[in-house]
Symmetry: D2
Subunit: 352 residues, 4 copies
């Protein structure tokens, strides 16, 4: 393929962890080239100054957030920005003819009221919200093809809903009994400075946070409602693990039929995800660990139906910066463009 | 107090993490002196050879497991041994006139059948089992006074039942809906060599293990049954955190009355634990982290009643080697002897 | 002892890691009570709000930096403040009749020019500088007795000079060849927010910093000059280890006589530190690790004389927050007051 | 390129960390396919059973160590085995017509006496030793072209000699004054079980080991002797860092001309490594950290000439499993085959 046929990508918010992970992943993509790294605060500075691991790999400087400038250099824009930014900017970039993949939470919730309630911000305009397609690839991937505006799912909703969807959809668990106990590495909170990401406070420590208040709760419920065919209310709790990358969601729900075995569930999940290379359903009796997907776009799932308690337990793991953010964003680009969804994403997990 | 009045303690299994933590803690106890460190495999060797942090602190050598020998040197024996050891040895030590505090799981379950089922070993003889008092200090501390044989609780049951007991006892949550999602540091698995405690496998990793199969499950259910006044079945899951010390149990159950608020629960818990210095009930809206009890005998508890989901969430943290093992064992000694339960145990948590 | 006979201590900068470690350690001291926790920025707030591990342990609020107020509540003041603070305040506190132990670097260097050059700040007034006694306990402890103003040594100088002093003093190594390769945990940089203490930047990372520019260099040289009887120039390099606590200095120098063996050096060091309980010289062929002094006031030292290269290697470890800061500060208080130097400081290292 | 033109590789010792890293890296190589994973102890078992991160990536079973069998499936063999294995097996594999890249230490030292002295094993036969080419790519890469037997360098020698060679070669430092203070992550010790790789012993700990006795010492001296044109004796010390991957060598030597500046050295190093993409010489005043090369084949180097002490300090970092083992092994394969040395190895470091 000639280099002129490469899709040109710009990254808004390139100096955050999501942005810099896009750069790592896209460097291996055969049909994309990153032509603009954008920052609202450091325009003009060399990109590698803040990320010395990119010395001699990215020698360019940061661009300002200027839709016209970027439209001249890029075909598609990734927003790897804090909540609230794409709400303001998406319209301008769409108007400039750019495709958008938004990694922030702004366009994920279809209800503007729910957004305002959980994010404590004003929701995007209805017209733009209608245009954004929610890109949970293995669940709704068909909807991405040919679109120009994808809202990339949240990290916790990715691990969680991939882990629950087949069982809810099949009616094998009672959606009203779902409890999600989620754990994440520290990179999920971004590069910003905060006492809760200070090394001496996190290391050799394990803590709960945002119990029943995490803004990913309604996103999870919105996806599960599609599976259940009715509204679902879920208990969702998050914890901070002393590690950099990785999310595990451990999930509990009551079986609708205690006669169903772990083997039945493994079979159900394998059929559901057949042909979707990035979801690996583990064999009965084994459980995935976060490191087993480190640096990769996999979501690994283990299930257990416990006759004694009448409950299903599901363990689902992802790398929060890959499948939970930048990797899935590229997977969405692949789907938008009509390419193989795995293109440029078949990284073997880094182990150990 | 003259040194002749000190209670003399022996530690069986002194070369494990529980044993060595007993040595650290007892070094600060005003009424106890450790006169014998015992090992089944390394008798005759200098204790500090395997634990150089005790250089010039413990200059003695390891004793063999010999009840007669130990009875000549000690008044009380701590078993910090793997499961199955005290089953075999407790009788001999009791017969030799020694008091026993057993940190292993052998004498915790009152049903011999349940023990055999979960521990995959033969249970202790009924006579000795009847003699052993289960020493969950803040719940059943009155039963320890004057006894000569205490079965020290498991680490997970300590964090878990201290976190659930008041709510179950009050009838404010439905015991049939309890789900316990527990997390532990690696020291809980002991010093033995195993791929699952290899640094490169644990570091930057988070994994689930023994889902629905952990031997602490029936111990938790046995305690909760006392609170509920009837049998209780609980979903109990454990995870391994990349840290050395610390346990968190995150617990979920349905409210029996959705009108009860977090403030109601905080008040209930504070009243329940009034006067028990090692349980600290956190104020509404805050959650304890494991590091906040590091190296100390505290169990810190946070609660939240969520009206939206109709569920209670409880977070309970301990240092698994202190309140979850050696610290509570000393607390039990204090209660047996009729001393203040906090004697020699008021360590301020090591932070950061 | 009646509580009225307790020495009352105030801690300026109590909300930093050095301050909070003073609180942990002094809680176990039989002759001291902390009567005032002071903060320049959070006066009036409950101390435990920022440090929940002290819930129910410290229930007081923060005092303002007010010498008159503090003089009414305390006998001795610990400065656990950033560089530059005690330079400004020491005079006022001395004038108010308080004894001072200063954990900052302000009064360590006897040359005001050297201070200005390495600290990039103006040095304290000469009169106060003359009054401050440099408190490296095992080297110059006799000088502290009866004093009212102690300058507590830096963390790196403590590990380093305790490791080198006997060999330099004896003339067994050439002072001009000394190279110090030091490593520290992250708590040494304090609780302030900085990208270099962000968990995701430090974890699974090892970095060098301030090479040949660390402000502890002249302090090390000042101490070694006393041993050598002439000026000494030293190469001093620091590294950041992904851990919270601990310092290791690995030190190299040429032997003045290649015939001297490791055994000779072990003997030299043991004689030099005879009777000083907090320095433990390890036997030949073994090396101390930082965790072996964790949470304690020990400085452990290993030495090796290598005939092949003609060089001595010394490894010296401390807990930077204890022997490297707050523990040594209390040891200095003990010496000032004429108490046993180990009083209240005999913590067994926390292991594992 | 048709798949028939792929070079077929076998990995002996595939279940160790070096072996499994070869699998990760070669999965991205456009001209190599791994056709045989070999294990001396687990032949017949599914490879992914021991490494679940390879679920659905490697579905094959382990082959036995059988030169005839492997010769039928592969063109080149990587030995990722403990010391002593390739000494015994290399001859058989060469005789079977296979090319060899040996990641162990067996064939690195040209002196059989030196090998026996430091490795405490008998050295390989002289004939095979003569045939093995030492593959330090950026220093002696020209020697690899067309060869069929490469001895891949050790991890510490790679970081160390790449960091020192230009300065020694130029005569700008005195080789007799070189001191190397090296630090490594735990994966360097392999997957074998040992108390020194137990998580609770390593975490929050920093330790020195094998001081003056590491078997990489003579390998470093052998390379530096080529630079100096005469024998060199070096002080080499190793430390264990609580992290999984990464090596840093901090190196010290006396300047032969104090007038030479850091800028002079940066220029010298850049010229020396011109065109070698995997060595990145950092700009004056900055230092590489291990995480900045994580998962990649880079060796990043920082230098500082200090006028005050008259010494050069060099900091050199690699990922011990990539540039220090499997990555350089593939780089050597590229050089043997006459391919671009960067082929299939241009991984962007994983950050954070």
């Amino acid at each position: 393929m000639s280099s002129s046929s490469l899709v040109r990508a710009a990254i808004i918010g390139s100096t955050g962890y999501g942005g810099v992970e896009l750069i790592r992943l896209l460097a291996a993509h055969p049909r994309v080239t990153v032509t603009s790294v954008v920052s609202s605060s450091n325009a003009g500075e060399p990109f590698a100054a803040g990320y010395p691991h990119l010395t001699e790999i990215r020698t360019d400087t940061l661009d300002a957030v200027d839709p016209a400038l970027i439209a001249g250099k890029a075909d598609v824009v990734f927003f790897a920005t804090p909540h609230g930014v794409s709400t303001k900017l998406a319209g301008d970039f769409l108007a400039a003819g750019l495709k958008i993949i938004d990694l922030s939470g702004d366009f994920r919730l279809k209800s503007r009221e729910t957004y305002a309630q959980w994010y404590k911000k004003e929701a995007p305009a209805q017209a733009e919200l209608d245009r954004a397609v929610y890109g949970m690839c293995e669940l709704f991937g068909d909807e991405a093809a040919g679109q120009d505006f994808i809202s990339n799912p949240g990290c916790f909703p990715t691990a969680t809903t991939l882990g629950l969807y087949p069982a809810v959809k099949a009616g094998w668990i009672d959606p009203d009994t779902i409890i999600v106990d989620a754990k994440t590495g520290v990179s999920g909170a971004g590069r910003g400075l905060n006492i809760s990401s200070h090394y001496a406070e996190v290391n050799e420590n394990f803590k709960a946070y945002k119990i029943h208040q995490h803004q990913h709760t309604p996103e999870i419920e919105q996806v599960l409602a599609r599976a259940a065919g009715r509204p679902v209310t879920t208990s969702f709790t998050t914890h901070l693990v002393p590690m950099t990358r990785g999310i595990m969601s451990t999930m509990y729900a009551s079986l609708t039929d205690r006669g169903r075995t772990t083997a039945d569930f493994v079979e159900l999940y394998r059929q559901f995800y057949e042909g979707r290379k990035f979801v690996r359903v583990r064999q009965a009796g084994t459980w995935p660990a976060t490191k087993e997907v480190y640096g990769s776009n996999y979501c690994d799932i283990g299930v257990l139906a416990d006759e004694r308690t009448g409950r299903l337990t599901v363990v689902s793991v992802i790398d929060n910066l890959v499948k939970g953010a930048s990797g899935q964003a590229i997977q969405n680009l692949n789907l938008m463009m009509g390419w193989e969804e795995t293109l440029g994403l078949e990284f073997v997990p880094v182990y150990p």
